[in-house]
């Protein structure tokens, strides 16, 4: 479904991402793990069109999408839950969700809003609350629900469990499981490597901007050297 080959992204002279290659098949849940500063966020932001790569190619369902603007990518079914959630704090919970559904026909929007209310009961109680008043866990759920409003075929999440209490981390991983069982395709950046390897079909390890390992969750867990590089220091 998604094919990334030799992708390089620079901030000025510094390459945050160096010839990274990976692929995600339809219906797969793929993890992206690695230490801070490994280029995980840069990779997702480049795929999503927020950053322009200086080399390499990204194809989505066979179509070359390298450097396409995010609003266009979303319309072809690719969505990103960005790092730090980036919910609109001045807008209400409902307005955040409406914006998430800006590309769906307005007739379909009410049903989608209902669906999100059912799936995220925590949010339904705060429908008309300013999103700035949400707790970290609620805000994360809103960020994910907002991305789901566009009915993406391919969803990327950047550190969905970061800064959440253990109970809420469970909620996030349950949600990843639920999305997988619906047949959605996911590419998830996680600092919680152990948990991610449990739910992922496969994972890639990124380090200093390069993909240094690839394998199933079990394979990567069993490789102690590698495990140390991304879990330890």
């Amino acid at each position: 479904m998604l094919e990334v080959s030799g992708l390089t992204t620079k901030y000025g002279e510094i390459s945050a991402l160096r010839e990274a290659s990976l692929h995600v098949g339809s219906g797969e849940v793929v993890g992206l793990i690695g230490p801070n500063g490994a280029g995980k966020t840069t990779l997702l932001n480049t795929i999503a069109g927020l950053l322009a790569p200086s080399g390499g190619r990204v194809t989505f369902d066979g179509e070359d999408i390298t450097g396409m603007p995010p609003e266009k990518l979303l319309r072809s079914g690719l969505a990103l839950v960005p790092e730090h959630r980036r919910i609109f704090v001045d807008l209400t919970v409902e307005e955040n969700l409406r914006i998430g559904g800006v590309t769906v026909p307005s007739a379909d929007r009410p049903a989608l809003l209902d669906e999100m209310g059912e799936r995220f009961p925590m949010l339904r109680d705060k429908w008309t609350t300013s999103a700035g008043y949400l707790s970290g866990g609620e805000a994360q759920q809103l960020a994910i629900a907002r991305a789901l409003m566009s009915r993406p075929r391919f969803l990327m999440m950047d550190e969905p469990s970061l800064g959440l209490a253990p109970l809420l981390v469970d909620v996030v991983f349950d949600l990843i499981e639920a999305l997988r069982s619906q047949g959605r395709t996911l590419l998830v950046v996680e600092q919680n490597a152990t948990r991610m390897l449990d739910v992922a079909d496969r994972a890639y390890v990124l380090r200093s901007g390069e993909v240094v390992a690839e394998g199933t969750g079990a394979e990567l867990r069993d490789n102690e050297d590698l495990f140390d590089t991304f879990v330890g220091n």
Partner: protein, 295 residues
């Protein structure tokens, strides 16, 4: 007491026009981080259109529609020709571009029309007044305040109730994330310029009716009022822009009537001084804007 009430009405009339101009500045600043020093050119261009229309024998009713249409079209044209090319550039580049547009537009009228002031007849009722208790109220101020209230309510509805308004608010808060949601940057930026042009067009109608004249540099004064009011209100805040406009209008009228005759002609200077003082003690303006993420 009577004098104070009189000042308040006069100040609100004047401030309403400033508020419409400031709101247009704030809408564009919100989505593009551009402080538009070319905003007054919308009045310059629609002013020359008015001069032409009056010469051709148009009635004021028709001309009002022309002014608003020309203002919106000019705003969109300026976006297309100039600002679309510097989207995402740093603030200084945007600032210089807007200055450039301001100079180019005035130069065009200077070169191809005339350097001299062109006058046109004002509608007869502009100078009419009526008695309200012990007050003399201008029909003009009444109309201005009424139209402004309706315009602000309509704008609020647009921003709160429509998908376009929602997209505009989201883009102003965090442009990149709005794009991630599928908000088209083209539509939201052009929409902001159209709305800004519409608000300036309404302000322009009143500005031109009162002035009854136009010159190549006529855009400077309204631009200053709009930009200053937006700054006073707190850049990026739409509510702040409206408050800033009203405050600026009230300050001008109150000072002009209270200052001793010898310095009354320096009212503008005194207002600028007060604004400078405000920024020393409250640099963020009246309303504080928390988010400042941009394109």
């Amino acid at each position: 007491m009577t004098e104070l009430l009189q000042n308040l009405i006069d100040g609100l009339g004047r401030g309403s026009i400033y508020a419409l101009l400031a709101l247009g500045v704030a809408v564009v600043f919100g989505v593009m981080h551009l402080l538009n020093f070319a905003h007054g050119e919308l009045i310059t261009v629609s002013g020359y259109a008015t001069f032409w229309a009056m010469g051709a024998g148009w009635s004021w009713y028709l001309t009002v529609a022309l002014i608003v249409a020309v203002s919106v079209a000019t705003s969109l044209a300026i976006e297309r020709v100039a600002f679309s090319r510097v989207r995402g550039a740093d603030d200084f580049t945007l600032l210089l571009t807007s200055f450039g547009v301001h100079f180019v537009v005035s130069a065009i009228f200077l070169l191809y029309v005339s350097a001299s002031v062109k006058t046109f007849p004002r509608p007869g009722w502009v100078t009419n007044t009526y008695a309200l208790g012990s007050l003399r109220v201008e029909v003009f101020d009444t109309v201005v305040i009424g139209v402004t209230v309706v315009t602000l309510l309509a704008t609020t509805l647009l921003l709160q109730r429509t998908m376009f308004g929602l997209a505009l608010r989201a883009a102003a808060a965090d442009f990149d994330t709005a794009r991630l949601m599928g908000v088209r940057s083209d539509s939201v930026i052009r929409g902001a310029f159209a709305l800004s042009g519409l608000l300036a067009g309404i302000a322009s109608v009143f500005w031109l009716m009162r002035a009854g004249s136009i010159s190549p540099s006529a855009g400077i004064n309204p631009m200053l009022k709009g930009v200053l009011a937006a700054l006073v209100g707190g850049l990026g805040s739409l509510r702040g822009a409206v408050l800033g406009g009203l405050a600026l209008g009230l300050a001008e009228v109150l000072l002009r009537s209270r200052l001793p005759d010898s310095v009354a002609s320096l009212t503008e200077g005194v207002v600028f001084l007060l604004i400078a003082l405000l920024f020393i003690f409250r640099p963020q303006g009246i309303v504080t804007v928390t988010h400042a993420e941009r394109v």
